[in-house]
Structures are given as C-alpha cells and as structure tokens.
Amino acid sequence: MLRLAMVGLGKMGLSHFAIVNTHPGVKVVACCEQNAYLTDVLSKYTGLKCYDDTDRMLQNEKLDAVLIATPSKLHARMVEKALERNLHVFCEKPFVLDVSDGERLAAMAEAKGLVNQVGYHYRFVGAFQEAARIVQSGALGKVHHIRAEAYGPVVLRPKGSTWRSSKDEGGGALYDYACHALDLVNFIHTPAVSVGGVAMNSLFSRDVADEVYCTMNFRDGATGQLCVNWSDESCRKMATKVSVWGTNGRLSADRQECQIYLRSPHSAVPDCKGGWISRYTTDLTQPVWYYLRGEEYSAQIDYFVKAIESRSRDNVNSFRSALQTDKLVEMILAEVNPRVVPATAAASVRPRGFWARVLG
C-alpha cells in the first residue's frame, strides 16, 4: 500500500484528494493545508491528519509519495522538499513558473529514479489520445497547421481575490488555461520552437491576462495558433479543442469527440474510407475505479500509482514533458516583455512574428 500525503487542498487539491483517497493501492496518511477551517473540518469529520507546515509533515510521516496542489508559485519549493526525501511526486499543472527551477527538479527526479508526473489531465482524455494517435500515424499527411483553443467562464467581473488573479503566483489565463492548450499541442504534435504575434489582454483582471493569443512555429515548418480566453461566458465550463490540418485531411478533438476528415484512406483509421468520421467519448473512454468530474482525473492518478508500483520511469506527463510547456509560457512572456529573455528559444528557427518580418 502506497503511503501518500496531500500538499494543498484548494479546488484541485480537494478533487485529487477525493480520487486518490479511494484508490485501492493508496493510503492517504496526511495532508498539509494553510486553510485552518478546512483542515479542522476534515480532521473532525474524517480523521485525516492535517498539518499546516510541509516540513513538519514530511519529517513526521513515513511516506512514499506526495500529491502537490498548492498555488503554482509554491510548486518548485514543494517538489524540491519532496524529492530531497526521495518521494515520488505528482504535481498539479503548471509545473513551475521558472524554467531553471524545472530543469533542476526534472534532473533531480531522474537522477533519483523517482516517478515524477504533472497533472495535465487532458492527455488522459480518450478523444485527445485518439487525436495524438492519428496525427502521429501520419494519416493526416504532412501536418501544416495546428490550432489549440480553450475558452471558459472563469473571470467575468472586475474582481477576484485568489492567487489565480496574481501574475507572480502563476495566475491568469496564461497559466490556468493556455498551459493546457499548449501541452495538448506538445502531446498531439510537437512543442513549438518559437512563438510570435502574442496578444495578451486583461479584460476584467487588474493584474493578469484574461485572453492570450499567439502564433506558434514548429520545427517541421508547420504553424499554429493559440487562442485562449477565460472570460467567455458563452461556455458553460472550460472547453478545450485542438484542430490539426495536414495534406491528407484534418481532425478536431475536444473532450467529447474526435472528428476526422481524410482525403484518402489510411491504415491508422481503417473505418474511414475518405470523408468524415467521428469517434465519441463513449467509445474512447476507459472505465475507472472511481469517477469524479471526468475519467481523466482518476486515470492520471491511477497511472501515477501504477508507475510507482511497476518502477516505470518513463511516464506520460513527466516533469521533463511538462517543462516543455513551461518553456513555451516563458517564450510567450518574453514576446510580450522583451526584457524577459527566454533561455530556451531555439536560435535555429527564424521567428515569423510581425516585427521579425519587418526587421528581417
């Protein structure tokens, strides 16, 4: 039985806790959370051992793994503490706010042979997995354009009092929404090597962007667009969609379905004789032992547990993989604020932004 502790019980933390707490291979032995009201209620009604100091928890409890769901700015520090104690780590997305922290922590986890996973749950959604499979099979021909979109109704008024409305703490639509869309592009195609034409606007928030748009350039010459807006009331909840165009067709995937159009048949999609077909979530989704909000949230936790049990060290959503998304965030920020120099921008790829074209 894996002994696990929760670090952070905010919105995502509580959801992760509810899921991992039911996992047959896991015993949640403690949690660490600053919200004293919540921890008092939990210890009173569930008997969960609660701490408000991570160091003390890590010192007192005999653990195999931690699940970190603190505000993003604390991720690096918490991950480091856990790795120092040789614990396997599941960390909520985004991985880190500073790419250099991420490099160091990914190397540390790898050197210690610890399972390290970040909560990009869309990689566990059947429709996106199907999209990745089809794109990577070459069924669409040579991919030339990718569009990643995420819209939702998070900030609809000029107020907000949580860390999510603070740019220094990893808030804003860039970290909360765009990361998911970028990570899906990395998953389905490859990470972009440069970005341009960045537009980041605050609509209601004082301190952070509520919408983020940019062009993405890929190593193989393909281009892409990122379109993210978390102030879109027309969506009932977060709606994420990836569309890919290739010389032999296109596909669009969201949480519900994967729609594929092929100009000529391909062995990777044997039931498509050319033209449109749809694959639905009911066919693409694998059952989980416990359901809360979506199979993908449970599937990623189960995957983490199984990776530890099987001593697999080549897992999906590793720190290294999530770091690619953090690097893209850094590139986007560098485009908006030239004083930020991305350490990771690929020098070999010519930027295609407006100023680059004007200035040559």
Binding site: A18, I19, N21, N35, L38, L42, R236, E257, T282
Partner: protein, 301 residues
Amino acid sequence: MDRVLFGDNQFFGVNHMSEEKARAQAMRFQDLQAVIDVLDAAYREGIRTFMCTTHDRVGEICDYFRANRDKYPDYRFYPCMPYAHKYANAVTEHGTMGALRKFLPEDGAVGAMFRGGVALASKDIEVIAQLLVDAEMKMFQGLSTPVIFIQNVITDLLLGVGLKDAFRMFADHVRNRYQAEPGFITMNVPRLLDVLEEVGVDNPIVCANINKIGFRMCGGMDLYEKTIATRRFRPVAMSVLASGALSPREAIEYVCGQPRIESIVFGASSRGNIRQTKQLIDELTCPAPGPGRRDAQVSAA
C-alpha cells in the same frame, strides 16, 4: 416516484457526445418558451416529474409553473443541487472560503451572522450545509418537491473525501425542513451504498448511470447488476441511452430488464423522441401482454 422522470441536461447545453450539439441546444433553449414547450410535450405524454439542477434559469421555469398551477395540478420537481459550475467558478474566483460566504444567505439576522463568520468559526458543517440547501431551494418555494437530490459531483466529492456525516445531515434536513425524501446522484453506486448504510440513511434513493455499455458505471457492470438485484436501495437510472451510443429500444430493454429499478430519467428535445422513449419504457416495463390482458395492463399503468 413515477416510473418516468424528465431530465434537464438538454436545456442547459449539456451533451456528453458533442459540444456542437450542446451549443445548438443552448441556443434553442435560451428562450423560456422553448423549454416550456418541451416540458408541455412531456406532460402530454404523461410525464409529471421534472428532475432539474438548481441552475439559475430553472428559477424562471419555477416562476412559470407557480403562475400556472391550474394547468399542471400534479406537477412535481425533483431539484438536484447544486449547479456545480457556479460553485467551481466561484472557488476559482474567490477561493474556497470566499465562495462559501458568497453562497450563504445575505438576508436576515441569521444569514448576516453566518456571513460574519460565526458558523464558519464553529466548524459546525451541519448548519452551513442546511443554509446552502435552503439557498438552493429558494427558487422552488410553493412547488411540490417530494425528492431532493445532491448532484453527483458533490456526492462523489464528499464520498471520496470521506465526509460521510454530510450525507446524513443532508438527509435529515431534507426530511425535516421540506418533508422530502433525500436522493443521491452518484457515479459510484456500490461505494456510496456502503457509506449511506454506515451513516444510517436507510433504503436511499440513488440515481446513477445504468446503461447497456457500462458507461460511467464505476465498479463495473457486473457489480452494478448484482448491487441492483440484491441491495436495499431505490435505484433511479440515468444516462440509459449512454449519451446516444445505443439505440433507444436496445437501451430501454436493458434497463427495464434490471430488477427493482424504480424510475428512469431521460431528457429529450423533440416531441417525437419524448413519445418514443416514454412509450418504450411503458411497453418494456410490463411483461409482454398476453391475449386479453392488454386493457388491464394499460389501465394499471
């Protein structure tokens, strides 16, 4: 409970198969009259119960039914609370405690006191749970609400976290304050039944996905079928069509073939689909009528 309950997903842009279809439905049903027309069509087919979330727009539907009591003397609502996205978005915007304060009642001395933090400070979640239920129930004032459900996202969050007492608190409050039966929507039936039994909620109404392809039946179909056949609870089947993955006849045949399922909830947008599904349930609920028995069966239904 009636055998057939009418659901509301189609009215609020919820479609588990297609976001495009969900949006088209959201457009169509932004007009209250379009919603009422569909509820009327269901009413004409004999469906008297509307099982609905506590979405803000349900308030408008409630206003209509309050104003037209004569037309629908036997109409019942089964509220399902809360409409979770409004809480989830509020938590993102205001944090857990901020969101809790936002949804606790503003008016009256008690409300003011709680918003001031007295209830929060006491760690007595029973009072807070009651206030949250009352806030959600406001829109149904004066209407018949014989069963009140907790939505699956809350049921399954509480179940996972292990806040078992919350279920008993909910059940007690719903019985005492609203003279209603508590209902629990869940995706995890066997586990929930264990916990409800443990906290003393006897013979509970439990609404869950029950469909021929095992879609979102956590624990697996075999365990579900065994649970339905052998455990003491009152099952309500939802998602019987598995979001359209099954043909209606095949889907209803499966559900009606399970013993002891009391009710089936389904949503539809067209009169034709409502009639077809309702007739299929009526037809497949009774054993095939032999010669001379048809009249008796129809009148019994």
